[in-house]
Amino acid sequence: MRKIGTGIVAIAATTVLLAGCSGGSTPTESGDAGGGSGSALVVWTDANRAPAIQAAAEAFTAETGTEIELVEKNFEDIRNDFINQVPTGEGPDITVGAHDFLGAFVAAGVVDTVDLGAAADQIEQVALDAFTYDGQVYGFPYALETIALVQNTDLVGETAPATWDEMVASAQAAGAERSLVINTAGQTGDAYTMYGFQTSFGAPVFVQDESGSYTSEVGMGGAGGEAFATWLGAHGEAGSGEISTTIDYDTNNELFAAGTAAYTVQGPWAIEALTAEGVNVKVSPIPSAGGETAAPFVGVQGFYVSSESNNALLAQEFLTTYLATDDAQRALYEADPRLPAWKSVAEEVASDPIIAGFLASAANGVPQPSIPEMGSVWDLWNAAQVQIIKGADPVGTWNTMVTDVQAAIG
């Protein structure tokens, strides 16, 4: 008898399951006859931005009757998942992403062009450029991000140093335990954070053509790159020791927050951690180490449309009509404070001195390359910087790295 009992329970359970499945597969009636349909737009987002997109999505659903299904993902996973799932037809219609995904997306053939129409005039040019690949716009940019010099005003006052040497001198005069902390991601290396100093020696990672697009010609070789490598070695662990591979993101922020370090180079995402213990900060452009303007990477975040979307019209309309409004852009900013690419919102928030400082730094910046070749550069570039900081022969290590990069990108 007990066997029969379990059998019946099992059957009952599976029946319920099956009923659930079949119930789920019947399309739910939604919308009105005049509007859209039961077809839903699938939008990938990360947890931070979900609430803001939700607000725009509700307005869209109310007006068109089209449901928007938000799928929350880890931001780090979006690049690969989008590339791998769109060709199989399982991908989303729209995803949030960084502009440096663009080259890989184009090479994989997973993104569609976007016609921003009138909205283009409302968006900062640098953001549009970042989402432009080979003369075509492939997304809807909405936020910029860059790193800047953050100083502890309790230690070194309000004066923003213009050069590296000034900065170190002022920190030493103030008696700070460490002049600055700069993240090297531990032993991994963080060429992204160092890039402002590198460009001040005139050694860009890739040469830009006259229109500002990156070519696949490596610009890190030659005198500029060697000068930067020498400088890095001189300030590394074997030199004066300001730059050390014992600093990773968390250590960096803790040391600064505790008042141990007078300066750091960080992005807006770290401000909360940097001021967690109540130090007062001022944000300003990165000081020059090599005489030229220190130009950090500017990253742009935005929305991409899948090339395999079955709702291309709806997806484009959602971006260019519903997200391209002051209210939607303000909601995005409030949900996840990044420098807005939407001009009117950018003007609104520029009154905040911290935001203004990051904007000033971004004005010096250069877009982070989005060409697919960049994917082969990071690892070698990071590793070479770590080796130089740890005391390897700067010029030799650097030139080997440049040769390796050239070989890797073919």
Binding site: P87, N310, G375
Partner: protein, 542 residues
């Protein structure tokens, strides 16, 4: 509660057929008629069939023919096995075999399939998708084109666009270039188009097929194709676009009409021009043994991978031997009845094992930090020892972490094995005059090994692929100078595969990573098989 009056059931139980009777069939064959059991089986099989058919239908809808075929074969096999009177062993084995096929064989087969393709950055879809991508990338909006209010119109089953331009309504279809059909009432979207029926937006937005028709519709501006054509992105406005790339399916070429360059489809999955330049998007093709050859011939990859392979073997071997030796030593000590408070101490020993490896590795990473870590501060008097940056120190550190994580396991296992040792054998040995060392060598160790050898082998296989500790502790760093894919001194093969598959960077190469996975599988499989054959010899001691 009162006990119910009356007797036990009057009906006698049915007479049992004596099992000793010669020629009696096994119970599985003695089925006659439709008992309860059969009904339950019927219902269960109905459920299995329902699920199976659902799977087959969805696989067919998704056009996954391999999965559909496999599901159909499995379902037919299940029905045959459970409704035949024969095949009794299979009735027990089939569920397990099914899982083996789905979760082991299929995964391995799929990995093998990927290993022979160039699936990775720039090669993810079919050729059709690559062509589509090229056409998307080659179609540009004319710089001087205004944005026109646009309506989708229809005439005798043919769809077209109607736009408002300078107060005039112009309409046309794919075959019929734009022509003026009337005057616009306002500057908005045309609502009445003479000669055409306006299709309401809701109609084509709600119908995926129709929506795709609208997306793909191009209405030429004039008879000259170089003037471009009207295209809509949102269904309510249009602009003039001009496509510069044309696809010739016969010749398998894409031609750039602006420059005259002809891109030919190559067997490497790219569209390549005569001057060596190629279009951005490629597609997945079979490349034969190229990925395997790359592993052994590409000098940039060969040396780092060789180092990684050597270190993997050292790491796996030491990750088994050292913790086992430590565990056995502690087990021997704490098995001695003279030790006080053995239970509490044994419990304390389990702590590292009970701690999640993820967390431990991350904590140790901080503790080994050269400048701020407690290890340098407490144990080395504040010396600046670069635990994480020096290749050999990093290897030592990560081994130390893994030993700390795994020796309690062996402590547990060996304690169990020691407590199961036959006391009379040891007594006999000591009467015969065997000392401690002799007893250890000739009796304790062999008997403990009989119990633990299979565990040691599985532990070797596990350590060989212990991604967690390596990745969490130091991400495989410090980097080997000049190695591609961020291969590092503490990388083992599995974390090298992770780096090569480009999950974190932008340059993914799934084909290469799959080829490497297969080699790792073969190595681990061979070592395990050989080791299991060796352990049979140990059992002679019993």
């Amino acid at each position: 509660m009162s006990v119910p009056q009356g007797t036990v059931s009057e009906s006698a139980p049915p007479p049992q057929t004596p099992l000793s009777a010669a020629g009696a069939e096994p119970h599985g064959r003695r089925w006659n008629g439709l008992g309860w059991g059969f009904l339950v089986k019927l219902l269960l099989m109905a459920v299995v069939n329902a699920f199976g058919l659902m799977g087959i239908f969805s696989a067919v809808q998704a056009e996954s023919w391999v999965i559909a075929t496999a599901a159909a074969v499995l379902l037919i096999a299940a029905d045959v096995v459970y409704f035949t009177k024969r095949a009794l062993p299979l009735k027990y084995l089939l569920p397990g075999l099914g899982f083996l096929l789905v979760f082991q064989v299929f995964i391995f087969g799929y990995t093998a399939y990927i290993a022979f393709t160039n699936y990775g950055a720039g090669h993810v879809g079919s050729q059709e998708q690559a062509v589509e991508a090229a056409l998307i990338q080659g179609e540009r909006r004319l710089d001087d084109s205004p944005t026109y209010p646009l309506a989708v119109v229809e005439r005798a089953g043919e769809y077209g666009f109607a736009i408002v331009d300078d107060g005039e309504i112009k309409a046309g279809s794919a075959e019929q270039p734009l022509e003026t059909v009337g005057d616009a009432a306002g500057s908005g979207v045309p609502t009445e188009v003479p000669g055409w029926n306006v299709v309401p937006r809701g109609t084509f937005l709600g119908d995926t097929t129709l929506q795709n028709t609208v997306v793909e519709l191009r209405v030429p501006v004039s008879d000259d194709p170089n003037d471009g054509s009207i295209r809509t992105r949102d269904g309510s406005s249009g602009a003039v676009y001009l496509s510069t790339l044309t696809w010739d399916a016969e010749a398998q070429t894409i031609t750039d009409t602006a420059t005259g360059t002809v891109y030919e489809a190559t067997d490497r999955g790219t569209f390549q021009a005569a001057d060596g330049s190629s279009l951005a998007t490629g597609w997945v093709v079979n490349v034969g043994f190229d990925n395997f050859l790359t592993l052994f011939t590409d000098p940039a990859l060969l040396e780092p991978l060789g180092l990684v392979t050597l270190w993997t073997f050292v790491w796996a071997a030491l990750s088994v031997i050292v913790p086992f030796a430590m565990g056995l030593l502690f087990a021997l000590i704490f098995n001695d009845p003279r030790v006080k408070g053995r239970k509490i101490l044994r419990t304390l020993f389990i702590l590292p094992y009970a701690f999640p490896a993820f967390m431990s590795a991350l904590l140790f990473r901080g503790m080994f930090n050269a400048e701020f870590g407690v290890i340098n501060e407490f144990f080395f008097g504040g010396a600046n020892i670069d635990w994480l940056g020096d290749p050999w120190l990093a290897r030592f550190a990560v081994l130390f972490v893994n030993v700390w994580l795994t020796y309690p396991y062996y402590f547990l296992v060996c304690t169990g094995a020691l407590q199961a040792l036959p006391a009379d054998t040891l007594e006999a040995a000591s009467i015969d005059g065997a000392g401690r060392v002799r007893q250890m060598r000739s009796i304790i160790l062999p008997l403990v090994l009989v119990a633990t050898a299979p565990l040691l082998i599985s532990s070797f296989a596990f350590s060989f692929n212990n991604f967690t500790v390596i990745y969490m502790f130091n991400s495989g760093g410090p980097a080997i100078p000049g190695a591609p894919y961020a291969l590092g001194a503490t990388d083992i093969l599995i974390s090298a595969i992770y780096d090569i598959s480009g999950v974190s960077g932008g340059a993914a190469d799934y084909g290469l990573a799959s080829a490497l996975s297969i080699l790792v599988f073969i190595v681990v499989g061979l070592i395990s098989a050989l080791a299991f054959r060796q352990t049979r010899k140990l059992e002679e001691y019993q």
